[in-house]
Amino acid sequence: MTKTRASGRTVGGLRTLSLQAPAVTLLLLWMIVPLGMTLWFSFQYYNLLMPGMTGFAGLENYEYLLTDPALWAAMGNTLMLVGWVLTITVVGGTLLAVLFQQEFAGRGIARVLAISPFFVMPTVSALVWKNMMMHPSNGVLAWLAESFGLPAVDWFSSLPLTSIVIIVAWQWLPFALLILLTAMQSLDEDQVEAARMDGAGPVAIFFFITLPHLKRAISVVIMIEMIFLLTIFAEIFVTTSGGPGLATTNLAYLIYIRALLDFDVGTASAGGVIAIILANIVAIFLVRMVAKNLED
């Protein structure tokens, strides 16, 4: 009995291996080769504009990057961008999930409208917001402000990072809503009903039943968003190009400038390594959580 089971397992193992080989091999290459190259370049003198200067640079690229004020500006901007967008989308998404869980006329259509921005490509949402919404003289927001007798805001020159935060939050709020609304569906209605019978008000129900129930889904939303938000690129590329000055340059955009505009492969790679390390700190928590989920 044990013998056949054991042999069955190895045959199964072999089949598993051959079926998985293509996907696993390609993913392994996709991960190892560029990662190795980024690491390698980050220790090399390598500037496409200075072909003569090559060789081992030691930690010089890192030193150059870490003493560059632009890096710290970019880190600060990345932090602000991630922090604000996360706050807006998670708090807003939770409240909206509660709202859209209530029954009302046309709820299905309202839900669909509210999650729509998530399906809009980033270049479209950024340009629509920049021009038609936030334009200082012809935008809808300027028109709204003027009809209330308020001065129009020149969004991208006076509040550049805030403008980017608004655009990105508009794209990711529907994501949080979609995930949390799904998680809400498994909320035990009997428990809510019982709490209501015992005299619990809607606020108490929200804090003591709904929120604990959503805890896991909220943490999933936070981690997935963090990974994407750390490297926001297209929204900045089409609106501010990182400016004015460095006001909206985040880590991803700084690496892009160093690599494809300054052709400084070495420094850009050192920046890439930093981005990878930051993303991995977040990723460890997410992978752990998903792993826990696989067990039950």
Partner: protein, 291 residues
């Protein structure tokens, strides 16, 4: 349980009669609130669709819902910049990468779901972790490799990148769908002497087709909307719609109607696909952590 329920509803009945009016007004408030929020969130998209039917002069005039709609901008977008060419690039890249991702992922997810070994869990988690690698961290090497092998500004290049980028999500999502399938059916097929190939093609695929379809749709949506690699690796020949729309960013405020018309066409198919698959998408986007 039923007795309990009817008892509670009996006690709550008198309360609800007196509270009927307040319940009604509460319902009204929620309806108004729900719809206002939805409309505010959707407004930029609505406004963009509307502006696409305006003339350029009307587009930058004071906001109004009353104007004479025209298809001028739609014609201009095609005539001046050849919208179709970029749309075809998007279609080729999104469908191509989805096809290859499914081709690679189906056998892999099948093995994980039905022939699990000790390493299966680890493999799944490792695949998830490759998704965490920020694209910008590998921009330099990918750009240089693509330059050296002539893949810059080619559809093939983007298809390769998107296939690999979406592969972990596709494997995960298929895995969760395959796992939900009753094992007895496959076992019965195996008893009748079906080969692995027959088992997959005549039993597994037809039975999990809805799951495979929604996985494919998610992959299409993600590839269609991807804007980091498309902006960095393509210029004119292979540029998909994300990159084409970005070309409107330079002359500020001049072509709002055309931008809107082009954007509307670019997002319409994906918006509809997204509406159709929103429920299943959650699985793929959260790696099965939220169902």
């Amino acid at each position: 349980m039923t007795i309990l329920r009817s008892a509670t509803s009996a006690t709550s009945a008198p309360r609800s009669v007196t509270g009927l009016r307040s319940a009604q007004s509460k319902r009204a408030i929620i309806t108004v609130l729900g719809w206002s929020v939805a409309l505010v969130i959707f407004f930029p998209i609505f406004w963009m669709i509307l502006t696409g039917f305006k003339t350029e002069t009307a587009a930058i005039a004071d906001p109004t819902l009353i104007f004479s709609p025209t298809l001028e901008s739609y014609q201009d977008v095609q005539a001046r910049s050849g919208y179709i060419r970029f749309a075809l690039n998007s279609v080729a890249v999104a469908f191509g990468s989805t096809f290859f991702a499914l081709l690679l992922a189906i056998p892999s997810a099948y093995a994980m779901a039905f022939l699990p070994t000790k390493r299966t869990k680890g493999t799944l988690l490792w695949m998830l972790s490759t998704k965490m690698l920020p694209s910008v961290g590998v921009l330099v090497p990918i750009y240089l490799i693509f330059r050296d092998v002539g893949l810059l500004d080619t559809r093939t290049g983007l298809i390769i990148i998107y296939t690999l980028m979406n592969l972990p999500i596709v494997v995960w999502m298929l895995y969760t769908f395959f796992k939900d399938m009753p094992k007895d059916i496959l076992e019965a097929g195996r008893m009748d002497g079906a080969s692995t190939f027959q088992e997959v093609f005549f039993l597994l695929l037809p039975l999990t087709l809805p799951g495979i379809a929604s996985t494919g749709l998610l992959s299409i949506i993600l590839s269609w909307n991807e804007a980091f690699w498309s902006l960095n690796l393509t210029s004119s020949k292979a540029a998909p719609l994300t990159a084409y729309i970005a070309s409107f960013s330079s002359p500020e405020g001049l072509f709002w109607a055309k931008l809107s018309a082009a954007s509307t066409m670019a997002i319409a198919p994906i918006l509809i696909l997204g509406w159709m698959t929103q429920k299943q998408m959650v699985r793929g986007l959260t790696f099965g952590a939220v169902k």
